[in-house]
Amino acid sequence: MAIPLFLILVGYAAGVLLPLCFPARPRIQNLIAHGLAAVATMGGIYLGMVGLLAPDPLAMSVSSTLPLLTFAVRLDALSSFFLLMISLVGLAASIYAVGYVTEWYGRISIGLLGSLYNAFLLSMTLVVLADNGFFFLIAWELMSLFSYFLVVTEHEKSDVRYAGLFYLIMTHIGTAFIILTFLLLFQGSGSFSFDAFRDPGHPLPDNMRTMAFVLALIGFGTKAGIVPLHVWLPYAHPAAPSHISALMSGVMIKTAIYALLRVYFDFFGGHFPWWWGFVVLLIGAVSALLGVMYALMEHDLKSLLAYHSVENIGIILLGIGAGMIFHSYDLDELAALGLIAGLYHTINHAVFKALLFFGAGSLLYATHTRNMEEYGGLLRRMPWTGGCFLIGAVSIAALPPTNGFVSEWLVFQSLFLSYQMPSLLMKFMLPLAAAMLALTGVLALTCFAKAFGISFLALPRSSHARHAEEVPWPMRVGMGVLSAVCIALGLAPMLVIPFLDHVSTSLIGRSIADKMLALDGWALAPVNVEFSSLSSPVLGFLLVATVALGLALVVCYGGTSPRRYSKTWACGLNLTSRMEYSATGFVQPIKRVFSTIYQPTVKLETEFLEESRYFAKRRRFEFHIEPLFQTYFYDPLIAFVSGLADRMRIVQAGSLHLYLAYIFVTLVVLLMVAL
């Protein structure tokens, strides 16, 4: 482990330093930064595979001069899985970035961007490898800071600066909770090493453990983007350069999933009451549903994708939450199933979300706008981007036989198998969560039908879209790689399950791979093959075969005459893009049906002609939806905090004497308390 890890670290470190050595040579900076990142990520993929196949965890450490801090790294199955995921998406992002950053040549420093990019990848790698609480916090903080710097790449725009500030504040609130969690764990262990967390000298009492559970959920949940802590995602992810958005949305928020698994299953050894799992499940269900609902109303393509990250984190938490509930009832096989479902969705989401962000980045590169209402007809102008985006869209909409479908199917099964639980409440609540997941699934389908249909089909809606051109080849390769991975993960679950099983075995201690792979691996079964089974390769084959059947029937019934092309009938007028359905119009029925959640306000102002009220001179239509959490939670909170700060201001007179007096009074009070 030592040598590949050393090479990876050297690769990233060189990627951080070398690009800065070639000032004002953007081409060279670009190639060096992303080339080194690509090499380092390949090392990460190798090391991740080694770690997943190794029977025992690999560990090493370097002590430091600071007390409590050792640079300890440990590569167990869980770390390896996340390292593999980070490196895989990182590799594709590095290829993609070679083309993407060319747009900024001469406008911003490519060297700095590339250097920060490597630093960001390095910090994420260290987060999942760290084996010491202190070291973990340092890596976590670096990850947050580097991603913040990357978010504000285009800092000359005020909305980017606002997004960056928002992100910085939210992530630090999260970090504060994480520090509290670790301090609580430290109380029991007396050391920051993860080994001591696992096996503390004085195990924490139950109420402290509960406190640690809640603190960790809030702290890591802020990074993961669970509702109601998700508010920063739709600001920060769109503001960042697209390959960074892909990494943040696809990979960085998953480090929080890693940390939650680490704390709940590893540190607490999986000993927790049923309601912990239920809370996680509930948050998952609410995040999934609200995430997709807000995504539907979003017409900025990258914000839409950011909201879908909230949704998919919710789906992952549904799997993990179900696993936790099963585990607390000692149904370990089902617990393993829930975890495997959650982990499978974790890697799937990383791949297709990065792919979709690459697609959105390509559209931004080609049209210089993120507003979907200005796209249209791009499939003809950008066939590669369009094809890859379609694969990503079908995957995220969980349609067979892609990867999103397989993992969502597994989540469904683990929720359905709740009928084996002893508690009637759980028996009923888990299928209800499945119903919410079903609704989420179809709404995601609607949302991506909108995203793809409005962006890529019909007539161009603006001159940007009319003059768009296909993106350079590195960007196409980056998207192509991830498209291929999407399809492979969907068609070959039998190759993926054993790896995931290795991870869940390391957390729960029960291997179910042989039970999940029925019929020599051709069918996937959730523990019990009688209850349900799925064979995505056979479904894929059947789909291809029936398409062939359709073609054969067409030929057989004489449908071979050449097509005639003609304009779309538009009731006698010439069809223009203004007649097309817009994204806003497309989701109007949904907005109306779910108006309780959206609380839409519509403003229609009409100026009539003076002669007659039947003819309008000008119409102005405005609509917006109420972001519930912002209006009813964050705005009052912010108002309260700044109000409090205002009132506190009277103690700040700016006089040195006064401050000295404060110190004196504090000392006296402390002395009195001490005596």
Binding site: F416, I454, S532, L534, R564, T568
Partner: protein, 322 residues
């Protein structure tokens, strides 16, 4: 699972299923149209008219809009393929299907969703406002039906201890694990029936006989299609209708279906199956004449009722069990 079947037998059975689906589906559409005609005191076209329509459509030269992309021409094939594949997961006249292992009820629902997804895209592709309108409406109807569908079948699945359709049907046909109180089944049946009406675009959710922009959903999405593409889509929607009728007939009343592979059982199974789906076709035809189409935003109430019924079925099941 494939247990007592050899590979050639499995392939033969799968092909037989596909042939039944392809061959019978236009007749059901014809039957429903005939029933409606008789209710309206008309003679109506013969039951076999849809076959002639399809044959003619296949030969006609298709006209394709210059606005469209490859999505438009690929969609009929994808919709056809996803519908037939979904149909192959539902037992038709044999309860033990060879493809049982390939997917359960979730796979069935999501395969149909694959077709819906591409139909929505195709509706947008021509750029005509009618297509977009149909797509937008189809999206909301699909969003509300699927949760109800999954919940309803799950309530049934619990009785049989499986979510694989073939296993459910086989166990129910052999009266394994049947509850004494049929109320969960009846509630689920009502829910699935409403879902079937919505998914296949029948009255009171959609009206397949109209081309009026105020009301149409499915017809609006396929408005730009002609020739062989329209033939495939029409055929696919007939198959979808038949698949839903099959699902209702076999999951809720599987009696008569062949539970073994003897020639006698198979022929009885086929005959009973045809009688059952014809009966359901008559019912749908009658409903189309008795009820008016609902306003678009009233559909949500109907589908909400379906969802609540399915949930109640589930709750009743647990209460009756415990």
């Amino acid at each position: 699972m494939i247990k007592d079947q050899s590979i050639p037998q499995a392939i033969a059975l799968t092909l037989a299923q596909a042939i039944v689906l392809l061959a019978v589906s236009p007749a059901i559409v014809g039957l429903i149209k005939k029933v409606k005609a008789r209710f309206q005191c008309r003679q109506g076209a013969g039951i076999l008219q849809p076959y002639a329509d399809l044959k003619k459509l296949f030969r006609k030269q298709p006209v394709v809009s210059t606005t469209t992309s490859w999505i438009f021409t690929a969609t009929p094939y994808i919709v056809f393929a996803s519908t037939v594949t979904a149909g192959l997961l539902v037992p038709i006249f044999v309860s033990q299907m060879p493809l049982n292992f390939a997917g359960n009820i979730i796979a069935f629902v999501y395969l149909l969703a694959l077709g819906t997804f591409f139909l929505i895209l195709a509706g947008l592709d021509a750029g005509s406002p009618f297509g977009g309108m149909g797509s937008s409406r189809e999206a909301i109807v699909a969003s509300l039906t699927e949760p109800a569908m999954i919940m309803a079948i799950f309530a049934i699945a619990l009785t049989a201890g499986s979510t694989n359709l073939s296993t459910i049907v086989h166990r129910t046909a052999l009266l394994e694990g049947i509850v004494t109180d049929p109320s969960p089944h009846l509630m689920a049946l009502a829910a699935v029936f409403i879902v079937a009406l919505a998914e296949t675009g029948r009255v009171p959710v959609d009206n397949p006989a109209t081309h009026l922009e105020l009301t149409m959903i499915h017809e609006a999405m396929v408005l730009e299609y002609s020739g062989r593409y329209l033939a495939l889509l029409e055929w696919a929607s007939a198959i979808k209708l038949l698949v839903f009728l099959t699902l209702i007939a076999n999951v809720f009343a599987p009696w008569g279906i062949a539970t073994s592979f003897t020639p006698m059982a198979l022929s009885i199974g086929l005959a009973v199956y045809l009688v059952k789906v014809a009966g359901l076709g008559l019912l749908i035809g009658t409903i189309e004449c008795m009820f008016a189409k609902l306003r678009l935003f009233r559909i949500t109430d109907l589908l909400g009722v379906a969802f609540i019924l399915a949930l109640l079925g589930l709750l009743f099941f647990y209460i009756l069990r415990s």
